[in-house]
């Protein structure tokens, strides 16, 4: 690696605030108004599609189908019908509160399990020596490309033989498995950049792998875990494919399954998806906003290289 940074064991301190503002002033002199303009342009371009959906979700069915959402500004027609229809179990046939809970119950273990397993594995790959290490690492990395569809049939056969089909276990186990290759790849990239002097120092003090992992690495890594955690959270939360096969039954089906059925047998009620989509976005965006600060610090700690 090319970064030759001084060793920092305490990445966050009170002086950091001042340093940042110093850097910010330095930065300001370098940024031209064109740069700000470019940032605004990108932000606007990226937001407009979602904004259109937001506006649409408050427009009546007929208006959605016949006029563009921007006509809202010249002819504002506001209705909560779409939200009412989506939230009313008798109207849409979808029980959103129940499936909301199902989504949460599915997602939380499916984030925690692969995170723990992947950090153990990533640690082993980064800081241990054993034969076949690189081959195994590359093999795991390459498994990312296996299309999930080919795994569904064999996995379901296995779950049926274990008699856990139709339970949350199928989803937890399969999502955890599918997450591992990318999780190990990303975490390995951060773990291996922890200064080796830190690890060595701990070793000289007589620490074993377990205590090095917990006392030295985990504090540095927690924020990086938060970072991968949110990505995994989003993937599981938004997954349709795995849930359809393993958790299609109404008792345990998540939001995405209910959402995709919301538009009706022949897609007639597609306009209802606008409201449905916004309800399903709420949780991931909240999680992102809450975890964002960990995020930034997390990858920061990881990229320091001695």
């Amino acid at each position: 690696m090319t970064t030759a940074a001084p060793l920092t064991t305490t990445p966050v301190s009170k002086t950091e605030g001042k340093k940042l503002s110093a850097a910010a002033t330095a930065k300001k002199k370098l940024t031209s108004p064109w740069a700000s303009l470019a940032a605004v342009v990108i932000a606007v371009l990226w937001t407009i599609p979602t904004f259109g959906l937001l506006i649409s979700s408050f427009r009546p069915e007929d208006a959605i189908k016949r006029t563009g959402w921007w006509t809202f500004f010249t002819n504002p027609l506001v209705t909560f019908q779409n939200y009412e229809a989506v939230l009313d179990p008798n109207e849409a046939g979808a029980n959103l509160p129940a499936s909301f809970l199902n989504s949460l119950v599915m997602t939380i273990p499916s984030v925690l399990i692969p995170l723990c397993l992947a950090s153990l594995a990533a640690y082993a790959f980064a800081w241990m020596n054993f034969p076949g290490k690189n081959v195994l690492f590359i093999a795991i990395f390459a498994l990312q490309i296996v299309p999930l569809q080919v795994t569904l049939l064999p996995l379901l056969q296995l779950f049926v033989s274990w008699d856990i089909d139709g339970t949350f276990w199928t989803v937890w186990l399969s999502h955890s498995t599918f997450a591992l290759p990318l999780a190990i790849y990303l975490l390995h990239n951060f773990i291996k950049e922890v200064p080796s002097s830190l690890i060595e120092a701990a070793r000289i003090d007589g620490a074993g792998h377990v205590s090095i992992f917990f006392r030295v690495l985990l504090p540095l890594l927690t924020p990086a875990l938060a970072a991968f955690g949110i990505f995994q959270f989003l993937w599981v939360w938004n997954d349709l494919l795995v849930s359809l096969t393993f958790a299609g039954s109404p008792a345990i089906s998540p939001l995405t399954v209910q959402l995709s059925n919301l538009s009706g047998t022949r897609g007639t009620a597609w306009y209802l998806l606008s409201a449905g989509a916004f309800i399903s976005i709420l949780v991931p965006v909240t999680v992102f906003l809450l975890l964002q600060r960990y995020f930034v610090r997390g990858l920061l700690a990881g990229s320091v290289k001695g």
């Binding site: 046939g93 379901l156 056969q157 089909d165 299609g248 039954s249 047998t265």
Partner: protein, 456 residues
């Protein structure tokens, strides 16, 4: 199943009270809706007479799981129609609707995790499901019901390798043309009785400067299917039912003179820029227009005619009146002559993966005319090919029309060909090549490409 047999003494009172409450609450929600355009149930099945169900015995505590592609809002009348059976026998029906049913049911069946009953919308898929070895043959009671109340052709669609597996459930009529009764009245247009008259009518409307037809074949990964229906309707009309059957079985090639005649016949309408695409654009726009939006220009007066199945009624919003004297209605897509009445249609079939007594009992109920009439009373946008179906029970005029077409003794019914052909053709090449045909590919190339995709 690990449910215990319980005492049945208090069951009728309790179950009755519980489900009556359910029915009441459901009907309360349903009552404030217009029955015309939407698919909301018009009324629930009021006082239930348990007499027809005593033969099924006591099924208290038993469960039957159903897996189907019928989702909201069409699932409500489905569930509603099971209520009398549930109340009188004590059985619980677990209903799972899933839009990805067609791909998922195969995975589940192969993995050994199938539902008790699946509603299969295509005979082709039925054959693939039977091939997994997990399906069970229909019980004799079901076969007897089907022999009694359905035509032999309908029984044949549920039969694989000489064994009868699946009884028909619902049906739809595809040979319909949607129009605006008001426009016809104002301009003195007559409902055409032959294909020739349809052409004359189209020319007449086109002469006013209006594009008479609107069409759309986009439908996500299934884009192209509405075109296959067009071609099948024309094949049936121009070549007759015997040639149609041979075409499905590949006894005549897909790209033979019959098919060429049929597709060119469609081309006279859909590739004619004087005729299409009313309110939607040029010929090419047919490929990009969602099928569910394609008939809506009729309401705005931008288009006069739209060929689509009976289930299209659900696409008009609740304020639209679907009736002979309403905003929009449909007429039968006529045959070559006024006497020939070929009808193209589709439907679902009930395939069982278990032969427990309660599954058999429910399967039998579904194949009975009792169920068909129960279902008719709570549905809108639904018919059955059951001959005992009383047309008077159908609330929606378009359903009554469909039922009349199906029950007409002069009608020759044929099932949607693409649902009967091998999947590589019926669910792939036919759709894809049909779409390319709309965007400019010639008839010969199109048909040859589909012929080449036929599994050897």
């Amino acid at each position: 199943m690990f449910v215990q047999r319980g005492s049945s003494r208090s069951r009728i009172a309790l179950a009755g009270a519980l489900s009556a409450g359910l029915v009441l609450s459901l009907s309360a929600c349903a009552d404030d809706k217009e029955p015309s355009g939407g698919t909301a149930p018009a009324s629930s099945l009021a006082p239930i007479d348990c007499a027809p169900y005593t033969a099924f015995g006591d099924l208290k505590g038993k469960e039957v799981s159903i897996y189907t592609g019928i989702v909201t809002p069409e699932d409500t009348p489905q569930k509603e129609s099971y209520k009398p059976f549930e109340q009188c026998t004590g059985i619980t029906i677990k209903y799972e609707g899933d839009k990805s049913f067609e791909t998922q049911v195969l995975i589940r069946a192969e993995a050994g995790n199938p539902p008790d009953l699946a509603y299969v919308p295509q005979p082709g898929l039925l054959q693939r499901l039977v091939a997994t070895g997990k399906a069970v043959e229909a019980p004799t009671e079901v076969a007897a019901n089907v022999d009694k109340d359905f035509g032999a052709d309908w029984k044949a669609y549920g039969t694989v390798d000489g064994k009868f597996y699946a009884a028909p459930l619902g049906a739809n009529v595809k040979s319909l043309v949607w129009y605006s009764p008001k426009e016809f009245k104002d301009n003195g247009y007559q409902i055409p009785q032959t294909l020739g008259e349809l052409k004359t009518l189209s020319d007449k409307i086109a002469a006013t400067g209006k594009k008479p037809w609107c069409a759309g074949i986009a439908s996500g990964e299934a884009t192209g299917w509405p075109l296959t229906d067009w071609m099948e309707d024309f094949f049936l009309r121009l070549n007759g039912p015997e040639a149609y059957d041979k075409w499905i079985k590949h006894e005549i090639p897909f790209n033979g003179p019959e098919a060429t005649k049929a597709l060119d016949g469609v081309g006279e309408y859909l590739k004619n820029d004087k005729y299409v695409n009313g309110g939607l654009g040029d010929v090419k726009s047919i490929a990009g227009t969602e099928f569910k939006d394609a008939g809506l220009p009729i309401l705005d007066g931008d288009c006069s005619l739209h060929r689509q199945a009976s289930f299209y009624a659900a696409n008009f919003d609740k304020s639209t009146k679907v009736a002979e004297d309403g905003d929009v209605y449909a007429f039968y897509l006529p045959g070559e002559t006024a006497d020939s009445k070929p009808v193209l249609g589709g439907g679902e079939f009930v395939l069982a993966f278990a032969d427990r007594p309660e599954v058999k009992a429910f399967q039998t109920y579904l194949s009975s005319s009792t169920w068909a009439n129960n279902k008719a009373k709570v549905s809108s946008g639904w018919v059955s090919a059951n001959k005992q179906l009383d047309v008077a029970n159908l609330v929606n005029p378009i359903d009554a029309l469909s039922a009349k077409i199906l029950q007409d003794p002069k009608a020759t019914f044929r099932f949607d060909a693409s649902d009967l052909m091998p999947a590589a053709v019926g669910s792939n090449a036919f759709w894809k090549q049909g779409t390319s045909w709309i965007t400019g590919q010639d008839t010969k190339t199109t048909l040859t490409n589909i012929e080449n995709a036929w599994p050897k």
